[in-house]
């Protein structure tokens, strides 16, 4: 447990040494601010719903940029060998990196609370759907992170890791589009597997256990695959 925390701290520090985190953070603020204000101006409604759907799309693009270096940089520098020969478990390293990216994401997300403050100051928004939307974005964003971390175990090239991460996230996001148009494939299954279908409820203000469990198992699954992927070197 302490090892996970040690790795998280080191990863967080390294996020803020490199310019990537700052750029991603800043661009996220610009885009989410734009979505929030434009939607507010058009709809004239004290709601977070429109902005929330667009914020998650922004994250779809930006999150792979945050996670791309998690393992690929260590592979390239050779530090993975140094790290993995210390008394640390592979899963501790993976979780440490996951937590660091999550904390960075939480900070990004928390800064959008300013919009909620504006909404509640000048309007009378229904807070329930707002908090549920935040929970949904948080869980969905963490799913992007888990997938992105897996992508970065596949290569020592950060750009490739970002591209693979983005492609995987987008693919799983739109997986439900195909449902209903395929013969012989269980369309409900595809729709269940898609990341986007589970967010709808949260944005509308419905927190269902089923959706929460979906995201948690999605996160666990991809972190598990990531651990297995760095353990490939241990194959005989």
């Amino acid at each position: 447990m302490r090892t996970i925390f040690t790795i998280t701290l080191k990863e967080l520090r390294s996020y803020f040494i490199s310019p990537i985190a700052y750029v991603v953070f800043a661009m996220f603020l610009v885009l989410s601010g734009y979505f929030f204000s434009v939607i507010l101006l058009i709809s004239k409604e004290a709601s977070f719903r429109g902005a929330a759907s667009n914020i998650i799309i922004t994250l779809l693009f930006l999150m792979p940029l945050i996670t791309m270096k998690a393992f690929s940089e260590e592979k390239k520098l050779g530090t993975l060998e140094m790290l993995m020969t210390k008394p640390v478990r592979d899963i501790e390293v993976t979780l440490g990196k996951f937590l660091a990216a999550t904390l960075l994401f939480v900070t990004m997300l928390a800064s959008t609370l300013a919009y909620i403050f504006i909404l509640s100051k000048y309007g009378n928004p229904d807070m329930g759907p707002i908090w549920s939307a935040y929970l949904g974005i948080l869980l969905c964003g963490m799913s992007f992170i888990a997938l992105g971390i897996f992508a970065s175990t596949l290569t020592e090239n950060q750009i490739i890791a970002a591209v693979i991460g983005f492609a995987l996230v987008l693919m799983l996001w739109v997986l439900n589009w195909i449902s209903g148009n395929l013969n012989g494939v269980d369309s409900e299954l595809l729709s269940y597997l898609a990341l986007s279908t589970h967010l709808e409820g949260f944005v509308k203000g419905v927190v269902s256990l089923k959706d929460v469990i979906y995201y948690l198992s999605f996160i666990s699954f991809w972190l598990f695959v990531a651990v297995k992927s760095i353990e490939i070197r241990k194959w005989k």
């Binding site: 790795i7 060998e81 020969t85």
Partner: protein
């Protein structure tokens, strides 16, 4: 105690190492010598538990490197090939991170790291970012991180590669000073390194161990003949003939004739015999002038070539 038995590592059909077995006793400094691509790094990686062998096993301090991996890694300091470091971190911050991973308790971390930085001579750069450091300093930081947690066993993969001669000497001195209370394995493809720093040499070539001994014994074992080089003033043919008559001398060669009657000779003899006394007496008896005489023992460098080049 490090016990390595019958290690084989295959990548596809190609074996990187094959049937590698050796033991290293507590407190030994062992040089792992071989040309590039001989399987040194593969062996080091298996020893540290980074990759598993295809077959065979490694025990460090009686514990299996894979079954008891975490316990073994706690006792192990490892400098991987090419000294990988987090280039964006400051030296002290980096070492503190490693100390935390090595489970050095928070209250002892500061003093522990100070001590290591002093031993490695990097106290003056403790606040510098690693990427700004020279190769020599980075190498010291690499060794410093291996020392964190006070490991009993130290495994160093090519610790002096890419350094300038002065830095090489400094790193060797550092390794020597560490040898007092640690068991050390270091790999290298540079010969003088092992004879300077190591108590024992294991020579590996094409994935197999080809020789294993102390640097001294290796020299003796492999130099089938001892050679004596002479510079004498006199008549070449006569000298050659009379020297050949000495018992135990197997061959006399005239290497070079200088103007003014100086001759360089090379006298080969049986390995155990020291023929220098007889040579000198013969030359003096014949009234020739003996200007120089020295015995040549085969250097490790030549042994290495002998061992690892196929005829």
């Amino acid at each position: 105690m490090i016990e390595v038995s019958k290690l084989t590592k295959k990548y596809g059909d190609k074996a990187a190492i094959q049937d590698v077995s050796f033991n290293i006793a507590q407190g030994e400094v062992v040089g792992f010598l071989g040309p590039n691509g001989a399987g040194k790094t593969t062996t080091m990686r298996i020893l540290t538990g980074y990759i598993p062998p295809t077959s065979g096993e490694v025990k460090i301090g009686g514990l299996d490197v894979f079954a008891d991996s975490l316990v073994v890694r706690q006792k192990l300091g490892y400098l991987p090939e090419n000294t990988p470091l987090y280039l964006d971190m400051d030296v002290e911050v980096f070492l503190k991170y490693i100390a935390a991973l090595k489970k050095v308790t928070a209250d002892k971390r500061q003093t522990h790291i100070r001590k290591i930085m002093k031993i490695c001579g990097i106290s003056n750069v403790s606040q510098s970012t690693i990427k700004t450091l020279s190769k020599g300093y980075r190498q010291r930081v690499g060794i410093a991180q291996a020392l964190v947690g006070n490991p009993e066993y130290l495994i160093l993969d090519e610790p002096t590669i890419g350094l300038d001669p002065k830095q090489i000497i400094e790193i060797r001195e550092l390794i020597k000073s560490l040898a007092e209370d640690k068991t050390i394995i270091l790999s290298t493809h540079i010969l003088p390194e092992v004879s300077i720093t190591c108590t024992r040499v294991i020579i590996i070539s094409e994935g197999k161990i080809v020789a294993e001994d102390t640097p001294n014994n290796l020299e003796n074992r492999l130099s089938g003949v001892a050679k004596v080089l002479l510079t004498v003033k006199g008549q070449p043919e006569k000298i050659k003939l009379s020297l050949q008559d000495i018992t135990d001398v197997t061959e006399v060669n005239i290497k070079k004739t200088h103007p003014g009657g100086l001759i360089d000779l090379e006298v080969a003899s049986q390995k155990e015999a020291d023929v220098r006394k007889e040579l000198a007496q013969t030359i003096v008896r014949n009234d020739w002038d003996l200007l120089e005489m020295r015995r040549e023992v085969l250097g490790l460098e030549e042994i290495f070539l002998k061992l690892t080049t196929k005829e």
